[in-house]
């Protein structure tokens, strides 16, 4: 029982990262039909924004030295600004192109951001001690002690999701966004302001990326210019498994992939544990062979009559 709870919390906290990133990717796919491969770079950029620009190996906290509330506001602001800049400079000019062109464009954008980070901060990983007291263990029950951070990650993720659900279901702009995500032309005809809705989706996607940036840095304590890439890759897989275009699917897919990783980590024999991801991808392939459309079918990809 204690063991199961431990594994569950590990799985949920890893799944939280994937789910948050998958939501950021899924939201843009819904509204823009864009598979945003720059999302990983957004995450990395948000993490680096914590420290002062310098190529030195020792990181000096800049924004990261502020109290929690202004810190969070500023990091979210930075990533949202980057996301909006990307919208104006890259996504909007490409909006009428094919989804493939948009995707390649986002790839290029990701590389530009990544190389910008190398230029400003240097290519070597840096250690950052942010909120390290959160790593202290909390005893949940006899024999189950988890880092406070894991509970915070799960809590933040669930709160952000509830906020997003509230926004999408209960506000005027949420209705606009859901309509636009399903049938852009029809929504436009009914008066949905396309540019505004897209900007809003891009900004929310940036906010979600910033949340991942912060939580991830606190957990790993390391800055690396490639750090967002595996996160984005797993999140992308999560959206595919969940069903492209379905936000519920993205979240479920994120948690499923996280849980699966932790289960494999726990139960694989120790000599092949290093190849955990191989098995994760194997399961993903099997799932997609059985349900090519993903676990949650969305009307965005459903064939129309």
């Amino acid at each position: 029982m204690a063991f199961a709870l431990q594994v569950l919390i590990d799985g949920l906290s890893l799944g939280s990262f994937y789910a948050l990133a998958a939501l950021g990717i899924g939201l843009l796919f819904g509204v823009l039909k864009l598979i945003n491969f720059a999302h990983g770079a957004f995450i990395t950029f948000g993490a680096y924004a914590l420290i002062l620009p310098s190529a030195a190996t020792e990181a000096t906290l800049g924004i990261g030295a502020l109290p929690a509330i202004p810190l969070v506001i500023l990091i979210v602001g930075v990533v949202v600004a980057l996301a909006l800049l990307s919208e104006f400079a890259v996504f909007r000019p490409l909006r009428d192109s094919s989804p493939a062109t948009l995707m390649v464009g986002s790839f290029a954008l990701g590389f530009v951001i990544q190389n910008l980070i190398i230029m400003i901060y240097g290519g070597r990983p840096k250690a950052v001690g942010l909120w390290s007291d959160l790593s202290a263990g909390v005893t949940l029950m006899e024999g189950v002690s988890v880092p406070k951070l894991q509970l915070i990650i799960i809590g933040v993720t669930i709160s952000l999701m509830l906020a997003l659900v509230f926004f999408l279901k209960k506000t005027r702009w949420g209705i606009h966004m859901r309509a636009a995500a399903e049938d852009f032309r029809m929504a436009r005809m009914l008066g949905v302001k396309a540019d505004l809705v897209i900007m809003l989706a891009v900004a929310i996607s940036g906010m979600l990326a910033a949340a991942v940036s912060l939580l991830y840095v606190v957990q790993t304590g390391i800055l690396d210019f490639r750090m967002g890439v595996p996160m984005m890759l797993f999140a992308f897989i999560a959206t595919v498994v969940g069903g492209m275009g379905s936000l519920v699917g993205a979240v479920a897919g994120g948690f499923a992939v996280g849980m699966l990783s932790i289960l494999l980590q726990t139960f694989l024999p120790s000599d092949i544990r290093a190849y955990r991801d191989v098995f994760v991808f194997l399961v993903v392939i099997v799932v997609l062979l059985m349900r090519p459309q993903g676990l949650f079918l969305s009307s965005a990809v459903r064939e129309r009559v």
Partner: protein
């Protein structure tokens, strides 16, 4: 005294790369009138609706709303000026609720969410779908989908409603219900209705005037009984296979 609105289609021609879909069609519609538009498949009915609703620019000719040309209008700006339409395929937002599908048209015209929901609920009540308001639109049967499309078109009381084959796939009983609804649209909202339909019984019973297209050309215009007996119409529908 209610204001009389007019919608005039004046010498409209649409060509797609040399293929003439509509050839100088002229027609007009006023508030409170139900006009039928019929013709065999490929006659250009939907193209004409697309022109009137701003989805398609005419190659020649123009559409005038209360005397003003609509040439520069987008579907949405026309919707704001009171020209609404439904689609053959329904085109509902399948993952949103029935209520939201109707409300989105109000929200799109600047209403608050609450005001749009209230108006949408009234319309659903009128159209008999209030008990299904909170269902996901994707779960609706085909005929209900069509009715939701009609309710959505009627948000914010348009002056003109274009119904694109609302009876397709409906049983006789459902057609009777639809006819009642179409008359009710006119009586309740005072708007002019352009009804595109394949089902002859529906068109003949509900429309005051009928416009018949064949291969993009007008072959007959007039009262139902006159159109029914018109040799050109009989030929278009029965002749030539």
């Amino acid at each position: 005294m209610k204001r009389q609105d007019t919608l005039e289609i004046s010498g409209v021609t649409v060509r797609f790369q040399g293929l003439t879909a509509i050839d100088s069609v002229t027609e007009s519609l006023v508030s409170g009138e139900i006009l039928g538009l019929i013709g065999p498949n490929g006659a250009g009915k939907t193209t004409l609706v697309n022109v009137v609703s701003g989805f398609q620019k005419p190659t020649e000719g123009s559409v005038l709303l209360n005397g003003r040309t609509t040439g520069a209008e987008t579907p949405h700006s026309l919707r704001r000026r009171g020209v609404a339409r439904t689609f053959q395929a329904g085109r509902l937002f399948r993952e949103m609720s029935v209520l939201e599908n109707v409300a989105v048209a109000g929200v799109g015209m600047g209403r608050t969410r609450a005001a749009a929901h209230a108006e949408a609920m009234e319309l659903l009540d009128w159209i008999g779908l209030a008990p299904k308001a909170n269902l996901i639109a994707g779960a609706l049967p085909y005929t209900d989908e069509r009715r939701v499309g009609i309710a959505r078109a009627l948000m914010q009381s348009p002056h003109f409603v274009l119904l694109d084959e609302p009876a397709a796939g409906m049983s006789d009983l459902e057609c009777d219900e639809l006819m009642r609804l179409v008359r009710d649209i006119r009586d309740r909202f005072g708007c002019g209705v352009l009804l595109i339909e394949h089902n002859m019984r529906v068109v003949m019973e509900v429309c005051e005037r009928i416009h018949v297209l064949d291969s993009g050309r007008t072959i007959a215009q007039g009262k139902p009984e006159a159109v029914r007996n018109d040799p050109a119409v009989i030929e278009a529908y029965l002749g030539g296979g």
